[in-house]
Point group: C2
Chain length 504, copies 2
Amino acid sequence: MTETSQRPGRLKARPLPYDTFRENVAMLVRDNAVLRPERLAGAHRLEIKARGVTLLASPMIADAGAALAPDEIGLPQPAFRRLRIAPGDLVEIAPARPPKSLDAVRAKIRGETLSADQLADVVDDFANHRCSDMEIAAFLIACASFMTADETLDLTRAMVGQGARLAWEGRRVVDKHCIGGIPGNRTSMIVTPIVAAHGLTIPKTSSRAITSPAGTADTMEVLARVDLSEDEMRAVVERCDGCIVWGGRMNLSPADDVMISVERPLGVDTPEQMVASILSKKLSAGSSHLIIDVPVGASAKVRDAPSALRLRKLFEFVALRTGLAIDVVTTDGSRPIGRGVGPLLETRDVLAVLERQPDAPRDLADKAAMLAGRLLETDPDVAGGRGADLARELIASGAARRKLDEIIDAQGPSPIRAELGGLTHEVLASRPGRIAAIDCLRIARVARLAGAPTDTGAGLQLLKSVGDDVRAGDPIYRIHGEEPSEFGFAVEAAQAESGFAVAD
Amino acid sequence: MTETSQRPGRLKARPLPYDTFRENVAMLVRDNAVLRPERLAGAHRLEIKARGVTLLASPMIADAGAALAPDEIGLPQPAFRRLRIAPGDLVEIAPARPPKSLDAVRAKIRGETLSADQLADVVDDFANHRCSDMEIAAFLIACASFMTADETLDLTRAMVGQGARLAWEGRRVVDKHCIGGIPGNRTSMIVTPIVAAHGLTIPKTSSRAITSPAGTADTMEVLARVDLSEDEMRAVVERCDGCIVWGGRMNLSPADDVMISVERPLGVDTPEQMVASILSKKLSAGSSHLIIDVPVGASAKVRDAPSALRLRKLFEFVALRTGLAIDVVTTDGSRPIGRGVGPLLETRDVLAVLERQPDAPRDLADKAAMLAGRLLETDPDVAGGRGADLARELIASGAARRKLDEIIDAQGPSPIRAELGGLTHEVLASRPGRIAAIDCLRIARVARLAGAPTDTGAGLQLLKSVGDDVRAGDPIYRIHGEEPSEFGFAVEAAQAESGFAVAD
């Protein structure tokens, strides 16, 4: 047990011009006026208080040569915002007491089932940045070892309890979400305008890529501004019935944002955490009807039908008890969808489908129509089984394309100027035969190496798909890059292992 | 998956005058010559290479006003030492690839049993600071969920494989270790001189307190210098047959040091991790015979006999297969041992026993004689059952006291000037009756609040023990402090809950 073994003292806050990506840091000089550095050896963390707000930070002790006085504490910008202080304001500091929820984290480590109150404490501490990455990882891994459906439900509710919650008076709000993992699977940008064109409300918030070559927010950003505030988003939805914006500014599930920042680097992706993460954000966004796309395939997140079934049941268990109508659809996750991989290339696929261009990728068009159709059927006036046809009609009439333009107009112009990466390399089939399988993980990796999504015009153009016949030397995909060194890495990786398996 | 998506580049290393306690940090300016900061958003870590050594660091991006040039990277002192570079030397930097062992960590999270090779990879990455706290916590919690005896053995071996390993040619080396948790249990400082006085070799390396009010290294430091180098320790042992030094400079199990820095704040203390931690250090120290003190009690680390038995079997399983003769002794962990709690107060108890002062604490004397006796019986010339008596004779003759003086002389004078804390407060019995129980955790906490071990003269003097009759208002212990504010916290905590239970 760590304890506060020093009286709280006050120091003047001074801005540090540093960005540390994740945890807060606080800088003190060794001979500061309040705290002997050795006091921190056990706790490792510092509690900083101002105006009733408490923040934990990792201390850095400055030895000499730091431009900091003994009565000052250096804090990066986010700490000033979170504490609502200005430079020169006094903050109280003390060695950190363990966060209240640490007992619950330890109980979970011991294999206990946590109560709703315990989970609420954990989520509260996570959302308010009172836990270290180490403590968050400990909780997540203990949960990965076992977590009941009731715990998943309580965790979801606790996560909704934190952060903003959007209300849409008088509107029935539909939404869609894909659990991810399939390159090019950019259906949201087609489904949203179709559904909105029909008159349903679909305020789509999406994420940026963390480990994939493009998130829907990255792709939409090729066409329009996506970092809207809540008020700006509401105005777009009032006008267009739909939007496609980045969820990052909405603060819909701050605890989830914190947990994701630890889950991703550890590669933890359990059904329980996936369900709590997705449903907490959708509940906070005010959705009432939700369709979930679960691609199943050898290189997808869900590998087989029994796992997909288990995941579906858990989604349904939590959704039912939180008043969310849910439709979990299992889809083909054995290969990429569409032809482009990377923000600009995927945008081209989306527009090709909406504009019924002759070379529009049929798999993307069919999947988007199916998903949109199931959402359209939540409208009592749409007959069962009519949804997909209606979706196709909304594309054919140009209504969906016009709706996308309306949304783009309402969201405002894109801040980026996207151009297809001028460096290109064609990856060739090494032998004749038929394409037997495409490894989604490998394709995503090559596209990321090429620079996607940071370089908007980087990525892959797929030229062949599963079932196509090839001769040795036929191009199977084209790599586009903007930066020579990164482009080189991508070419090298594709040469080592293209991700395409050719069989006789 | 994270990947290197930028060519490696070189920057000039510049010392940062910061101490960050744990993880390495590296500072770059936003417009540095090599790496766009957004490249780090996924990886969160930076790989720094020089002369074949690779180090991972958490990046800090300096925005403006930092005294760092675009072709420089700021690194704290430990990074210079680990990379064996001087200021101005060029280092290569790139976004970190996931450490090789992360796949093994993920396999353990999924509930798999790890092979010896996988565990060796994990330990190698831990010892070489290639993993973040988050990754270390994930591994430890996954192991806490289940770990086989074979995995514990392989983990122990892998930990011994890292770091220094001491060899004692021609000497049979005995050692003792207590798993901890009992205030005042300072037997090592009595056992070591007894055993050395008999002529056995006992190079005792001990730890400083992390969460307790005193480690053996803190207590010995009241009498002598303890931060010896390996060569200095060898010289002491050559001369005296024994020593009592701080193990921190020996680098005996660097992976263990890293793991402990994560286990302690999380309060993780599984039998498997305890066994691997203790035995790896003892094997690295070159011990051949080891006695382990396992106190069992309601507020001790081991709560009941079945848990103690399970722990003993695991110690024996690993010791047998690593060639270490082990004797696991279950002792009374229901109350503190001796009267003093805190470095100086515990030193007084130790000297009282060795000098046979009339008021020397009998429980400490008896326990030390028992433990020393069992080690003495590893000498073929000492008859079975004679050990404890021989230990008492070595005290009675003054031989053990003289041996302690020899060791103190050889280690050198203490760098600290210890004086009993002048602030005192007597904690009184609130009701008449008999002392029924003493809560070791509470006693440790009050002593730490009073300032121990940082303030050498702070701590508690216990005036009553279990079984003693008290009247209301009788003093049960005295708090000593040096710093008024901390002393106040300790008094407050003792008043809220003294840790002594009085029954009729």
